[in-house]
Symmetry: C2
Subunit: 205 residues, 2 copies
């Protein structure tokens, strides 16, 4: 049906622009009209496609945010090599401010998590689910790295995953305005140092 196509097209435009503006200004600080004006759409159009602002955002989370996290943070982990440099690369890449005109996708998680925490349990839940998936994948790739001899046996993989996630999320609060080159560089350097401490100690001859 052509009608369905049109409909999907509009929903896609709404979700895309919504993510962009919510990411820029925050969910509660963005009115629907802010978005609708930019798309030259009306309230009526919006409520034809979504049953509420909340429902709308959940669509965005499930369609777009999940994808971005997978693409940037989870799929890169799928490797046979030493996982530690792979993780560094994925984090460095995810912290990269929007290439060209795109958004700084890597930043969204911490912002949204904090914004919805204690304000909207349902949305919070979806966001935490994403974090959990990430964590599980990190743990699994770390354990694999241990088996393959890239990581020392004494290492607590769950703890490492937690620490990685915490430091990554926290960088967001620091890089707020200026997508500061310097901060990112410092972060990556220290992450590498930390990772070095996870490597097996070379046996002294």
């Amino acid at each position: 049906m052509e009608t369905t196509l049109k409909s999907r097209e509009t929903m896609h435009r709404l979700c895309g622009k919504g993510l962009e503006i919510f990411n820029e200004k925050g969910y509660y600080n963005t009115s629907l009209d802010d978005i609708l004006t930019q798309l030259s759409l009306s309230k009526g159009a919006f409520y034809h496609h979504f049953k509420s602002k909340e429902d709308y955002f959940i669509s965005i989370v499930q369609n777009l945010i999940v994808q971005k996290v997978y693409a940037l943070l989870i799929e890169p982990l799928n490797t046979e090599e030493n996982p530690l440099p792979i993780i560094v690369d994925s984090l460095e890449n995810a912290l990269e401010p929007g290439k060209k005109n795109e958004m700084a996708y890597g930043f969204m998680l911490n912002d949204f998590l904090t914004e919805f925490n204690k304000r909207n349990e349902e949305i919070s839940g979806y966001l935490k689910d994403i974090l959990n998936v990430w964590e599980v994948n990190l743990v699994s790739v770390l354990k694999k790295g241990k088996l393959d001899g890239y990581i020392a046996r004494h290492v607590d993989c769950e703890g490492v995953a937690t620490y990685i996630i915490a430091s990554y999320l926290g960088m967001r609060s620091l890089m707020m305005d200026s997508s500061n080159r310097q901060l990112k560089y410092q972060y990556v350097q220290q992450l590498k140092h930390y990772f070095k401490s996870l490597e097996p100690q070379p046996v002294m001859a």
Copy 2:
């Protein structure tokens, strides 16, 4: 003057309760009436003491939050000993959920930073200032630790401070609901590992 005393007393009560509730529910999700009801005060009383909600929160930041951060995160750094375990202790202590009936002060910074970022530049500014002071103090104690031989010479103290702050702030996003014992334990453990990599290499005999 007794009048002035009464006035101060009321302002203190307002600030204290305000911090408590803003910390619980967020600034924008808390109405003045939420606070005033609990204190059995009126709008009139409030606007007699503060010129706006924003002005009110700035008072809270400058009177209470600054104090907490100093007490928990900055003053403990004032030591002649090895700074690394001191830093671990201060962070562990700051992540401790409210002892007895007090608030979980250690959590506030990341929440408020994220909430005001891009919504209120002035308040954002005050909060960033606090972070900056913390960072400066961290850097200085790290440099001192380097001089005293507790930290390896190659270490980038600014980078380490950034990384410490990032991981601390990020823990907040993870510890949202459950002030999860496990998470905190993992964090402290990994922090210690990381710090070990900053120590000077013992010279092999």
